[in-house]
Symmetry: D3
Subunit: 137 residues, 6 copies
């Protein structure tokens, strides 16, 4: 039998956020998060790459139909985050700090439920060209 | 005499904004600007390319020292816009809609004053990889 | 009055083509176009950048609404060329050789008719990262 | 002893293809593969990254000479696929659907035979910037 | 008659250089050029884009055959500069400071002689992703 | 407990080098390393990506503060290699051939000592867009 194959789909969304730990006072938040703590928010063009790993279906040659994967990402991630304020518009970040690490894990949790359990899922999220994360590592 | 040479310096900043015409009601703003009108803001990784055109100095071979150009951009643009909310933190966009077109022109006006009048200045601003503007055209 | 501003929208399509001058014999076509003349076709991920130049509308701050520009490109270019064989599926290339130069001009002619005459239009077309064209120059 | 090191070489080729399962009727193929099933083909600029993993030779500091790796890719992959129609010109895809998953595996099988067995080989293949695969995962 | 079309070919070379004005003393050179004046040199991956503008030939649909343009660049630029030390290996930079501005102009002068006078030629040279130049402007 | 997360920081430096095994004669070095053996050196824009893997701190949501990671890279890598001649200015390459494989391992050894032992560290180094390495694999 052949080895498994991984397929990757890249999408993007634009969002505002601020880094802030609501259990800390303003001074501590500012000391730890610096300009990322601006109370008026800043924002990013987030680039998202979703990796799905498994055996290609012998009839289609697909691990997963990329149109389907793209639609799952649109429905469960982009419609939720694109052109939104992560802190104010998204309840999951009301108390969870929207660092790239936390956003990636939340996206993974949402997509993991939507994709066949026989397939592995991993998320890479670019906050900028120079800062990005992967979950699970 | 040789022709003129253009030099380009690329920098970036991350900011939040929303598109909104304060002289319109909320319904009109929403109809015209769609999800870009989200009252909680969204954001971008703005990529900025500044073009300076002139004759290279015969002693240095430079049209303008790129370290100087980079510092001018940092002082007059990045320190002003990076990790800021353009609508709330920047008085120039209190009444001027922060479209890419308007941001590019304002950046050009700030840099034009700082650069030798014998040199031409042009600004290219990427809001995303797929949407960008140039001023003056 | 401010200078004009240029706005750019980037889209892409994937197509098959072959280079061939139907008024030449096979030997001449092969000598001139080499492997690009393969009678079974080859293909590209074409990247298209459409530039529109004019004065921003004072109410919106837009030279042209990028959603509208994107939709015009989708309707008049992508729906026509994406996942097509330019030589076989597109009558305009039945006798016109689909070089990047000719494709760019045809795209420009289609878009020029759709966009306000007060605005200038220019097309840049990437056949590969290393080969691209602009019309009009 | 030091850990192993991976080296990567990126190459590209341009090809036409269509997705089609010859054991299905046209209606089923069209339902499953959509516009990718166009009988006249479409095409891509394929970007190929070959990863080779092992211990650097203590004399050269090379895991594998990149000139040699590049030549192996040219001889065994690019000369076979560049400016070709995968379905019509390449017998391996006469009955095997040329999805990115299948193309990557076939490329890996060809290169695996050419490279020292003490070195591991993996292939990443970009069909577009937004769709890519890796074999073995 | 149609407007002119521009075609672009991108190539690259890797070279060492230092910035230095031989008519100045070491202290002045160091003050003006900073770390770029390191007497042991540093280096870059130079990306070169050559733009050629004219009317496409009605028989081929080409402004210029990109294979020919690529070969001209290889013969007259890459063979001269790739994997070289610009200051030590290239007589044109024995007394001329190899800034990006000067390198671009010298490349343009070499290519201008090789290309049909009815076609316009322009050179863009990237020293890094963030610093680049164009000649003539 | 959640899985581990990886964070990545991308930086760059520009350096000169030549490939050479000092225990070989000039003829052998030239035969093995070709134009990379030019005694006058050549150079590259090296792109460096440092990957750090661990559990995000529950208070900050960070695996490691990216500002801290960026400063570590600047202090221990960029200040040492940027605008330098690796062979002449860096004692570690006096007898060790500065191939991408060896540079990546040396960078990893320097950074490994600076980063909390509970976190894993990996280095990816691009010598060009087409040639890059990872250590440890």
């Amino acid at each position: 039998m052949n080895a498994k194959t991984a397929v990757f789909r890249r999408e993007h969304f634009n969002a505002a956020h601020r880094l802030n730990n609501p259990s800390w006072d303003a001074e501590t938040n500012n000391a730890v998060f610096g300009k990322c703590n601006n109370p008026h928010f800043h924002g990013h063009n987030y680039e998202l790459i979703v990796k799905v790993t498994g055996h290609p279906d012998p009839d289609t040659g697909y691990v997963i139909d990329m149109k389907l994967l793209s639609e799952l990402i649109k429905t469960h991630v982009l419609d939720r985050y694109d052109h939104r304020n992560l802190n104010l518009d998204c309840p999951e970040f009301a108390t969870l700090n929207p660092t790239a690490e936390n956003i990636a894990r939340i996206i993974w949790e949402m997509l993991r439920k939507q994709i066949d359990e026989q397939l592995d899922v991993q998320v890479r999220l670019y906050e900028t060209e120079r800062n990005f994360v992967e979950y699970p590592a």
